[in-house]
Amino acid sequence: MAEPIISTSNLELYYGKFKALHGINLSFEKNQISALIGPSGCGKSTFLRCLNRMNDLIDGVTITGTVLLNSKNIYSPKTNLVELRKKVGMVFQQPNPFPFSVYDNVTYGLKISGMRDKSQLDQVVEKSLRQAAVWDEVKDNLYDNALSFSGGQQQRICIARVLATSPSVILMDEPTSALDPISSAKIEDTLMDLKKEYTIIIVTHNLQQASRISDKTAFFMQGKVVEYEQTTKMFTNPENKQTEDYVSGRFG
């Protein structure tokens, strides 16, 4: 395996006394899409949120183990959380654009970090929206409220908002579960293009989506990784019986 861009070692997470993650060791390669699958409550979203310290915001959470991003532990006290979340961006299940224009949505992160040059911001807006495959649909309405677009377009605007800060890794938590099949297909096409430049880790309940777009798949059960394999192997001949039963729809 090539040098991983992000990896976890013996990662454990407790919600109070409840142990939600049991010593997770996973490594994610650069320019790959990795899918996290498993039944509801198995810990896959909890794990995903550990990768940019989103769980820090939840009361009573204890996290042990390490998460290395480019060989640096993100749980080190020296970590700057704003910088971390620029490098490890996140797209959520429900499209959540801010209630202002497309332009302001995409430039939001850049303005916070001090970028003011209008021509530079214009360039980033166009590049990010193009990469998110939504430029042609919004270019004539950049100053319309982002909430006035369709769900699929809103989600791609949110992806553009993440891309604008030039992240290394993009985390996605069921990014198409609220969208119709056409919009989902556009997002999937977008992800396939984006992986040339970014590393994508996606939580999905849609097993066909995982098999269509991901290079590797991790199957979670009860806070543990049951199997982590090349996706083609996972969906044709998995090692573990539990994986087989889950991906073939026999439980979960």
Binding site: K233, F235, T236, N237, T243, V247, R250
Partner: protein, 218 residues
């Protein structure tokens, strides 16, 4: 939904085994009819061949439907794929059995070569045995048995083919009046040899079913 899918897949597999049994019967009957010069029995094999073709097409259609409607993965996918590929091999093996039956009808009244017929009789029995072993290995998804069957029979059947073909060519060169039956002996030996090849293919699909590996056994 899983229950409906399991029933569909179970039905597909049961009918694949039924196709295997029909083809196995055609191979055995055509071989025996050739050995015993039994034209009536050969005619029966020829008459039954469309049933094999119809079942092959039906199984193909059902496999496509299962893939489109249920998107099977893992063992289920390997089962559907191996059946979809295997039905073609079975149907072709059935065609060669029908050819043997046609040769049985054609050779009636022609001059015979008993020593060649003896080799063809052995070959027909071995090919039939090999085919049945292959189908049985598939039914059990038994990759070890599949490999073993090819190992046991492939070379032997190749030798028997040469054993039947060489004296036929020699006899035809020496006695022009044997040409008609000589050609039919060679054709029958070739048909039996092809049936053996299709049995090998079924063994390869058995290995795919059991392991996900696509291998070349011959």
């Amino acid at each position: 939904m899983v229950k409906v899918f399991d029933e569909e897949l179970g039905g597909l597999k049961a009918d694949f085994m039924k196709l295997g049994a029909l083809v196995g019967e055609a191979i055995s009957s055509s071989g025996q009819s050739f050995i015993n010069h039994d034209v009536d029995s050969a005619q029966q094999v020829i008459t039954n061949d469309p049933k094999i073709n119809d079942l092959q097409i039906e199984l193909e259609k059902r496999s496509f439907e299962i893939m489109a409607l249920y998107q099977p993965v893992t063992t289920d996918l390997r089962e559907v794929v191996s059946i979809l590929k295997g039905v073609t091999d079975l149907e072709r093996a059935g065609d060669h059995a029908r050819n043997v039956a046609r040769s049985t009808v054609k050779i009636k009244g022609q001059k015979r070569l008993p020593e060649v017929e003896e080799i063809i009789a052995t070959m027909a029995n071995e090919v039939s045995k090999e085919f049945n072993e292959c189908i049985s290995a598939y039914a059990r998804a038994d990759q070890v048995s599949a490999k073993e069957t090819v190992k046991i029979f492939a070379d032997e059947i190749n030798d028997l083919y040469n054993g039947a073909a060489s004296p036929s060519y020699q006899a035809m060169a020496a006695h022009p009046d044997i040409v008609n039956s000589g050609v039919l002996y060679i054709n029958v030996a070739k048909d039996l040899s092809r049936i053996s090849d299709y049995s090998t293919n079924i063994c390869e699909w058995t290995i795919y079913l059991a392991t996900g590996e696509i291998v070349e056994l011959s």
